[in-house]
């Protein structure tokens, strides 16, 4: 065993081996993998090997597609076959709304680069004559997907890694880790110690206990999954093309061919078992399985046999019951571990064989180059944090796993573990019909269902339409109030605070107390990393307000950077403050009734901040409005939320004040042409593509990403952000729709909304600069149909900002 390497990967399952292979591919050859038993001996060896291409969104589509491509070509490179079976796959749809999901995703898949077609029941029968189609309106077919032999696939990756110089130490038991003063990691094993710069934990269902050695709470839940393999079935014929994998939401199961037999597995929607969430897995649990329990899954097996009767006509050869580490959002955990330098996590995939290759590649890029080729926020370990205890993690993981085969139309929210954070106004909002979404534990109103019906999620316009319209019109005509407490908030203080912030953010920090700016953190290469509103509260003290879901990630970015600056202190104050945004033409009149602070333009101009007192509560008020109206964001100490909310209503009741939610806010900001962080601004774009140059101060001596940005500016951009109106009435923009010109895809929609005040469907999107012809019409593909769209040159509403400044 070597004594010193660049990186050590712990764990020889598909995630560990893929990480090792891709690290070698990205250019690190002095690396090693340590596995306590044999490769694949945890979860990988008993996986069903499925590589689906029907995924939830574009990020997953890229991830899965990469895996499928790699498994088909890997043997050529490594000499070891992966056992790839390119049999294609069919997913059934039970009703038109579900079929809309297929239509939405088929567009995404085609843009990503693989075929997916919508099928009628007759066409499904042609591809698989053995399936019964009761309760199905159709489905979709991805001809390029298939399955591999998990063992062979892992060994093929291992062979590839070895060829590139990586070492694999099997039967080597890691006993602990120590971070040395040099920052390097010492990995202690039963065969001796090995020191490395970077440490990757790909420890699968052992991750919770391994994480504990490092004081790291890995939100994994070990979920039991069972599948059955039959003996030879008369419906299989090895001389013919293999049957496509069938995925059936009605029985929550998949069925595929396995040699001459069939293989089927149900994901039980209500009897899911988790194990080992209160105790550790024995280290000796190696190539091991659990006792099957078919009784638990009987209702779904019955439905599965009804769907695929041949499955019931032959004997069941074996039942595999094993456990798999799942996460609370069914997305793997891949990337930097919070709080630790050069510690990386990889695992937590429900379909690890499919996602292992892509996750390994992204992790390797992150480690070697500092960034990933695509936005990897959906994998980032720092999307979770201390707000979630183990009970929440288990509850939510069970819910998302049980829901795995269901569609999640826009507007769908999970129910478990809520509410986690409840402000004083929660009950009040609830009584008013608030429909909430949970954002990192906060309950944020999406809209107010004034008839109490709640939301009926749908792929087309849903039942929130009339209420959201009412909310939008209130903001434009009188006043609206929305709860944005979920914002992440950080206090930054210290004598170096201003210099440090100027070094890591691209905009110039405010110099005057009460000054504020919108600023972005960029990667070294100039891509968007984070967005925050930064306000100078007093000398050497700033409050940073950022997107809700990025709370722990941004905290980690700030903290890791601040560590090198003695004169800077970063504190997460997210849960100490709530936020109410008051906006609309009557907002000054409302606010003036409850505070003595002057609110006129001279005393409190647009884009400034003041400390004001409302009902004895000290509030940080920012004169900004994402809705594009006269308005204030009020950041209120959490215990004062109830008092301020009540005071605002007391004052605003007669002035048309109405609660509104994020749906209305989205509609209003689209009207104003304001981009959103996370959709328009992502780590796949720089300020040049997005055209947000006015928030980038290239005159500053230096900031992270400045040089790359200057170089890029000289070269020109390949994509640019466009703002458009789409001629469509019955559908809402979801995000992820393709933009067409002359029958070719030239771009993608990032986000949009129906603008109720202007009565237009508006959207943002990126188009390829060299393909987009500004004098020709464009179309946007929505649920299988193309709708014409026209590019807008400026905001639909108040382009001169007179409302904001009024």
């Amino acid at each position: 065993m070597k004594s010193h390497v660049k990186a050590v990967v712990v764990g020889g399952g598909i995630f560990g081996v893929s990480s090792l292979y891709h690290l070698a591919k990205e250019g690190w050859d002095d690396i090693a993998l340590i596995e306590k038993g044999e490769l694949t001996s945890g979860t990988t060896w008993h996986a069903a090997g499925l590589c689906p291409l029907f995924t939830g969104n574009e990020s997953f589509a890229h991830l899965h597609h990469y895996g499928v491509k790699l498994y088909q070509s890997l043997e050529e490179e490594t000499g070891v076959p992966t056992g790839w079976h390119g049999c294609g796959g069919i997913r059934l749809a039970r009703d038109e709304n579900e079929l809309n999901w297929h239509k939405y995703f088929a567009d995404v898949a085609n843009r990503v680069g693989y075929e997916m077609r919508i099928l009628t029941p007759e066409q499904i029968k042609e591809l698989n004559p053995h399936v019964e189609l009761h309760g199905c309106v159709g489905g979709s077919y991805s001809p390029d997907e298939g399955h591999v032999d998990p063992n062979m696939a892992t060994n093929s990756l291992a062979a590839g890694a070895r060829k590139l110089g990586a070492e694999i130490y099997r039967n080597t038991f890691v006993k602990g880790f120590e971070q040395l003063s040099s920052g390097e990691w010492k990995v202690m094993t039963d065969k001796g110690d090995i020191t490395c710069e970077h440490l990757v934990l790909a420890t699968g269902f052992f991750s919770k206990q391994v994480g504990r050695w490092l004081d790291l709470d890995v939100p994994f839940v070990n979920v039991v999954h069972q599948y059955l393999v039959t003996e030879a079935s008369p419906v299989t014929d090895l001389s013919e093309k293999e049957l496509p994998v069938l995925r059936d939401p009605a029985s929550c199961s998949y069925v595929r061919q396995e040699q001459k037999g069939l293989l089927g597995g149900p994901y039980e929607p209500d009897s899911l078992q988790t194990i080992y969430d209160d105790k550790d897995v024995e280290w000796t649990f190696d190539f091991d399985l659990l006792e099957p329990d078919l009784e638990r899954v009987e209702p779904w097996l019955e439905k599965m046999v009804e769907r695929f009767p041949a499955f019931g006509e032959v004997g069941i050869k074996k039942v595999i019951s094993g456990f798999i580490a799942h996460t609370p959002d069914l997305s793997p955990i891949v990337g930097p571990a919070p709080d630790h330098k050069n510690l990386w996590l990889a695992g937590g995939s429900a379909i690890g064989i499919s996602q292992g290759p892509g996750c390994g590649k992204y992790l390797a890029q992150w480690m070697v180059h500092g960034s990933v080729e695509r936005c990897a926020n959906f994998l980032d370990p720092r999307r979770f944090g201390s707000i979630y205890d183990s009970e929440w993690v288990r509850e939510r993981t069970v819910e998302v796993t049980c829901d795995m085969y269901n569609q999640h139309p826009p507007g769908y929210t999970y129910k478990s573990g809520r509410p986690l954070i409840k402000t004083d106004i929660y009950d009040n909002q609830k009584n008013k019909g608030a429909v909430f979404e949970d954002v990192l534990g906060w309950e944020r109103p999406k809209w107010f269902s004034r008839d109490g019906e709640g939301e009926k999620p749908s792929w087309s316009k849903n039942n929130s339409f009339e209420s959201v319209k009412q909310e939008c019109l209130a903001v434009r005509n009188s006043a609206g109030l929305t709860d944005l407490s979920a914002f992440s908030k950080y206090m930054v203080s210290g004598e170096d605070a201003s210099d440090w912030l100027n070094g890591i953010f691209a905009n110039r920090m405010p110099e005057k107390i009460g000054g504020m700016c919108l600023a972005h953190m960029l990667t070294d290469d100039g891509y968007f990393l984070a967005e925050m509103t930064i306000t100078k509260l007093e000398d050497n003290r700033f409050i940073l307000i950022g997107p809700s879901s990025a709370r722990y990630r941004d905290l980690d970015l700030l903290s890791k950077s601040a560590r090198h600056h003695d004169g800077v202190e970063v504190t997460d104050v997210t849960t100490s403050y709530g936020c109410l945004a008051l906006c609309g033409p009557n907002s000054r009149q409302i606010l003036s009734q409850i505070t003595n602070h002057p609110l006129d333009n001279a005393s409190f101009p647009w884009l400034s901040s003041r400390n004001i007192t409302i009902k004895g509560v000290q509030v940080i008020a920012l004169r900004v409005s994402y809705a594009g109206e006269l308005g204030w964001e009020l950041h209120i100490p959490i215990e004062g939320m109830g008092a301020v909310y009540d005071a605002l209503y007391e004052a605003g009741g007669d002035l048309g004040l109405l609660d509104f939610g994020t749906y209305a806010l989205n509609s209003l900001r689209m009207e104003k042409g304001y981009w959103a962080y996370g959709t328009e601004l992502t780590v796949e774009m720089t300020p040049l593509e997005a055209g947000v140059n006015r928030f980038i101060d290239l005159n500053k001596p230096d900031f992270v990403g400045k040089r790359a940005l200057e170089e890029r500016k000289a070269k020109g951009v390949e994509q640019k952000l466009v703002y458009m109106e789409i001629d469509v009435e019955h559908l809402d923009v979801i995000g992820g729709e393709s933009i067409y010109q002359d029958g070719e895809v030239i771009g993608v929609i990032t986000s949009g909304a129906y603008a109720h005040y202007s009565k237009k469907t508006l959207a943002f999107g990126y188009v390829q600069v060299n393909e987009y012809k500004s004098d020709q019409p464009i179309q946007v593909r929505m649920l299988g149909d193309n709708f014409s769209a026209s590019i807008l040159t400026g905001p639909v509403y108040d382009p001169s900002n007179t409302k904001l400044k009024s």
Binding site: E231, D288, E291, G312, V314, G315
Partner: protein, 249 residues
Amino acid sequence: MKVVVMVKRVADPNVNIRVKEDGSGVDLENVKMAINPFCEIAVEEAIQLKDKGQAKEVVAVSVGGKDSEDQLRTALAVGADRGILVEAERDLEPLAVSKLIAKVLEEENPDLVILGKQAIDSENSQVGQMVAALMGFSQGTFASELTLKDGEVEVTREVDSGLQTLSLKLPAIITADLRLNEPRYASLPNIMKAKRKPITTVSAEDMSVDITPRIQTLQVEAPTDRKAGKILSSVKELVEKLRTHEELI
């Protein structure tokens, strides 16, 4: 004709066996369990007799913990008609098991009893023989072929010197060897139907049988790890190694 077939719950032969840290036995917590493979062959033979119309009823019997019901269900899923579980603490010795089985047989009065030749967990190969002795039944152990004739059963046994064919008077005890047949798999609908077939549970303690342990377990140890092999370049080198290093020849 009534056939009783015995099934035993054992750790699945495909999973790794772990010895408890204190050396008191094998750790079966969270281990996949299965029907003893030889019992599976016994069940298959009984079902085949039923398929041929020679057996009218097949009763599957298991002695063990409550969980052994799973293995009885497996037997019911492939075609046994009903099950009897003699519920007892898990680690009964062969003689105690045999006495309990004998009690059941006295009640059931079968013409033929088929067991596996041994269980893969403790590898004793004692119960069939002991039951035969207790019941005074004729016995044909390690059967590789079985033919029913009028009031008799002809059994081919695999013995060291070749094949031995015995003709046994009924009622008889047969223990199944590996080559007796190839067990079938139950189909999914039959697995589900098996849940509705009757299983009678009797408590071992209520059967007035002395099941007191007579053997004391001192220590259970895992076999020592096998050393890695070496690949040699020639026969000559092999002979030399055997002579000099291993002192085997």
